[in-house]
Structures are given as C-alpha cells and as structure tokens.
Amino acid sequence: MFKKILVANRGEIAVRVMRACREMCISTVAVYSDVDRAALHVRKADEAYPIGPAPAAESYLRMDKILEVAHRSGAQAIHPGYGFLSENAKFARACADAGIKFIGPTAESMEMMGSKTRARQQMEKAGIPFVPGTARGLASAEEAEQVAERVGYPIMLKAAAGGGGKGMRLVHARQELRSALESAQSEAQRSFGDSEVYIEKAIVNPRHIEMQILADELGNTVWLGERECSIQRRHQKVLEEAPSPIVNPDMRRRMGETAVKVAQAAGYTNAGTVEFLVDQQKNFYFLEMNTRLQVEHPVTELTTGLDLVHLQIRIASGEQLPFAQSDIGIRGHAIECRIYAEDPDNNYFPSPGKITLLLPPAGPGVRHDSGTYEGWTVPIDYDPLLAKVIGYGTDRRQATMRLYRALSEYFVAGIKTNISLFQRILRDPDFRAAKLDTGFLDRLLAKGDAEVAARAPEPGIAAIAAGMFAVLDPASSPTRNGNAAAPAPSNWKQKGRAEALR
C-alpha cells in the first residue's frame, strides 16, 4: 500500500480524497494555486506546495509542476479527482514514465474513450447497443444528409471530442441540417481544437442513467448499480439519485453487464462510469464512458455501502477486488444535489466572494461533502461547485424528505447559492412522482414558483429582527445615514428627542 498520495485537485473532491487517505493511514500532499493558499484542501493535507498563479492552465493543469512536487515530497501515487487532469491521457502516461502511480485507468483506455467516435467504433465491435447514427466523423454535408435520412429526423449533431454540450445541435428537418453542421463544426473547433462532428438519432425526452463499474488490475470487473442523472441544466448534471426509479433488478443487471462489457473492451481499470441514454420504452443506448471518479459517486457509496475512493486506492496499489458481483447489494435510496456559488435570481450567474456565514446541514441520513468554510473567499477562477449534500433514506420518499429538511437547515451568506433551486425540485409533484427526463429542469424553471410566496413569513418579523440586530450588535449594523447605530442608549430621554423630531 502507498504511504503518501498527492491529490492533484482542489475543492470538495480534494478534501474527500484526503479524508479517505487519512482513514487508510496514508499521508497526503496538496498542491495549490496562489488564490487557494487558504483553501480547505490545503488545511486538510499533511503537506502542501504552491504550483503557480490562479489560472488553471498555469497551476492545476501544469503536469510538470505537479510531478515535480510529487518527486520532492516522495508521493508514490497521484489521485487526480475529477476535472483538471483526471481524463488527460498524457498526464497518466507522464506519471507512469516518472514512476508514480496514476490512480485511474491507463492512458490507453483513456485515449480510446476520450474520442467519442473511436469509442463508438470499438464498442460496436463488442456488440454494445448504440443510438443509431455514425460511428465516425462526417466527411461532408452530403454524407450528413444521407445519414440523417437513414436514421430519421430529429437527429443530434455531436462533436467527437466533445463534452458539456459544446458542439451539439438538435436538427429537426433536412433544411436546417447544413447550417447546423457548419456551426457545430466551428464550435467544436473553437472548444476542442477538433472540428470532427458525427450524427446520432435524437431521442425525445430521454433519461440519462449511468452505471458505476470497478475493475482491478487482475482482470476482475464488477458493476455497482446505476445513477439517475436526468435532472440537468445546459447538459450539466444538477441532481443525481440512486437507484433510478425506473430501473428494476432485471434492467439493472442487463445495464450492469453491458457496462462491464464496455469496460473490458477498453481494457479498463479502476473506477469508471458508463453513461446510457434511456428512451421512453426503457431501451438503453451507450453514450460514453467517463474515465474518472464522478462528482455524484456518493449516491452509489450510500446505496452499496462501499467507499469508492478507498477501493480506487486499493486497486491502484495492485490489490484484488475484495468482493464478487454476487456480494454487491443495493439498499435504500440516495439523492445528491450540487451546491454551486451561483445566483438563482440572476439566471444562475456565478457568485464568487467571501462566505460571511455558513450553517451546514446535519442529522440522520445527511452527508455533506464540502470544500468551503465560513470566512473563506470563493475565488473567481474555478468551477463554482462549493459542496454536495446527499440525503439517504430507506426509500425514495424518505431520502427526498431528509434532503429537503437538510437544505432547510443549510445556510450560506455573503455569496449566492442554488440551494433554493433544489428545494423547488424536491417539492415538485413531477419529481415526487419520479417523472424525470432531461427536459425536467427547463420545464420546472419555466413554471415559476408560487408555493414559496404563499408560505412566506410576515415582513414584520424581519423588521423586528433588523432592529434587534442593531441594538444587540450596533458595531456591525450601519443605519441608512451611514453611521453605526448609537450604542443602544434606549432610554426614555432618547425616545423623547426622537419623537420631537417627527
């Protein structure tokens, strides 16, 4: 087993990985950019080293600096977290060349899965079900028209190197195809430096369901159950749950076995996720494989009782999976929401700044994976994910109510967060009835939120509270005229003067 691991990441995931290391008696090395000196992951690490200025390209993406810190500190392995270098095959290879274990799959598996068209060619050979379309990039607009005719409109244009919705276009009819193809290609070129675009049949109101797998380096691969990730905004996941409300044991087994086949066809090792699109008839189609630990991994941990980061580390150190497929059971229900520093009243625009007050949620069935603390300033330079709150319960209803209760305890001041969005989602009748698809959130946001207004407390309570804050804590209660409120003289003489001024 490793004695020391470098965590090449920041925020909640760096803290989460370090916690696992501490539980396994492994010491931890943090790296940080100039603006992250006071970040939580630096405080939680045994050692920490600066790697450059704020922009990720000059710090968290600098392979040379990270490897130099690994050497200097004597770290034997690097955990990349998610994002940054986690799916960078060059980095995995550079680690191997430097004699440092990369906790994840091999560079070869990553390269195969990194290109959506290459992955598709490989997976078609292995007999994996696909959304009808092309397995390779389109050579011309004529070819695009022929393929679109064959699979039938509506179709989806997708960037081969893509992700995050970039280079994607929905095309309803032939006359829209050429201009959509041009704009998808130019967006793909701008975003990924690669203009390759392919066609898939568009599935109307699909669900997005993914399967967690684990593979050791001795040839054993298991699946750990699915996660329902249909609640998305701009193709980014917002809320995830396990198990999926529509997946029964038979469908779970078929999806799991397919995911294992995908992983084996790619020679995959360590933790990975196979994403599927599911149509209204519950047919599932391979979408892509994520070659890293996912943001939403805690819902799988809670419903399987396994710790995925512990297992990642054990696999990377050469251990055999400590269980077989038949040992794995799904128990209870878990729902995760991603707490972002963004402003729900301003079109979810990012809201960095200083956290002046933080009241974290607690209690039964609540897990709070956070990378923040009260008094910390959320920098402007990175992804706005602050924390994840996960509710766990015997069944979906209890998990929902626990998460809802936890969010009512959760309070962050100084910056805006999307906590109120999750409260809306969790009390929505369609969510409660598990009527989910990737269009759910857009429909919810278009509906408005009447229920909250009806339940709002009296403004008079706020008025009394404002006055009491001023008299109990006059130093930090400036009145409108710019002076601090008088140090609570509050005697009748003062009142008399005030009355006289009316």
Binding site: P352, G353, I461, I464
Partner: protein, 165 residues
C-alpha cells in the same frame, strides 16, 4: 430607539425599549411580545408569541438582507432622527446613482460611453467571473456621468463601475 425599517420596499415603524432589562417592542404602534438572543454574529433567535424564528443576517458591500427561515427580505434600517435618511428615498430617483460591481471579477468590455444617454435596465459594463459573463445594467434612465471601469481590470464586490445621473 425608533427605526424606520424598510422591508421589501415597505416602511415599518419600529420602537424598541429596554425596560427593567427586558426588551419591549411596538411595531406600527402595536405592542409585540418577543424575546431575542444573538446566537452568533449573524444569527438571531427570535421568539414572537411563542413562535420560534431563526433569522440570519447577510450584509454585502451594497445591501442588507435578513433571512427568516428560508425567505429572504431586503432590509434597510433608517434612523428617523437623520434628515438625510428622511430624504434619501427621494434622492434615489433624482440624484446620481452609482453602479457597483455585485461580485469580484474582471471587466470584459464597456457597453456605453461617458455622457451617453441610457435607459433603465440597459447594459453598461460586462463583468466576467468563473468563466461566465454578466451584464451590469443601469438602475435608472439618465446620462452616464462617469465610467470608472476599464476593460481588462479586476474589480472587487462593491467597487464603483460607473455613475448615472
């Protein structure tokens, strides 16, 4: 103490007195029985007629909000003894208004020039933070007296970007 508390734009006359060590309160002239304890710098436990409220205070560079449970109220505390406070609501509409950066970020570009006429809600400056761009809009119709923001510069929350009159 007498305060005019503006909650969500509506004024409330609040009188607070400490009599024999106990706080007494009149809201709009009506007596309210309550008890309040500051449980943290920004957290007040308020009991009103037996009902328990956890009130959180959020102060930014530009404004004050109080959260009662999950509801946020924009609040202004005015001391009616101050002449300026009594006139300030009129000043808001007529006088010059500063446009402040609502968050730290970088100025991407300017959308209006000094001395140009702008409508209420018209974009003045584009600020980028966390790889997203946000248009900062004019709070009123008027003429841009001054632009202090420069493209490419970093700004902090509360920095003055422009003045509209």
């Amino acid at each position: 103490m007498v305060y005019d508390v503006i909650v969500s734009g509506k004024p409330h006359r609040l009188e607070l007195e400490k009599v024999d060590g106990v706080w007494q309160c009149r809201l709009e002239g009506k007596e309210v029985h309550f008890d309040a304890v500051l449980t943290g710098r920004d957290v007040l436990s308020l009991l009103v007629d037996g009902r328990s409220y956890e009130v959180k205070r959020e102060q930014t560079a530009t404004d004050l909000h109080l959260w009662v449970g999950g509801t946020r109220f924009p609040v202004e505390l005015r001391d009616p003894r101050s002449l300026r406070a009594r006139q300030s609501s009129a000043l808001d509409e007529k006088g010059p208004r500063k446009i402040l950066a609502p968050m730290p970020g970088r100025i991407v570009r300017l959308l209006a020039a000094e001395q140009s006429e702008v409508e209420a809600g018209q974009g003045i400056v584009v600020v980028e933070a966390m790889k997203m761009q946000n248009e900062i809009k004019s709070p009123k119709k008027g003429i841009i007296k001054r632009i202090t923001a420069t493209a490419g510069a970093a700004v902090n929350a509360g920095d003055v970007l422009a003045v509209v009159e």
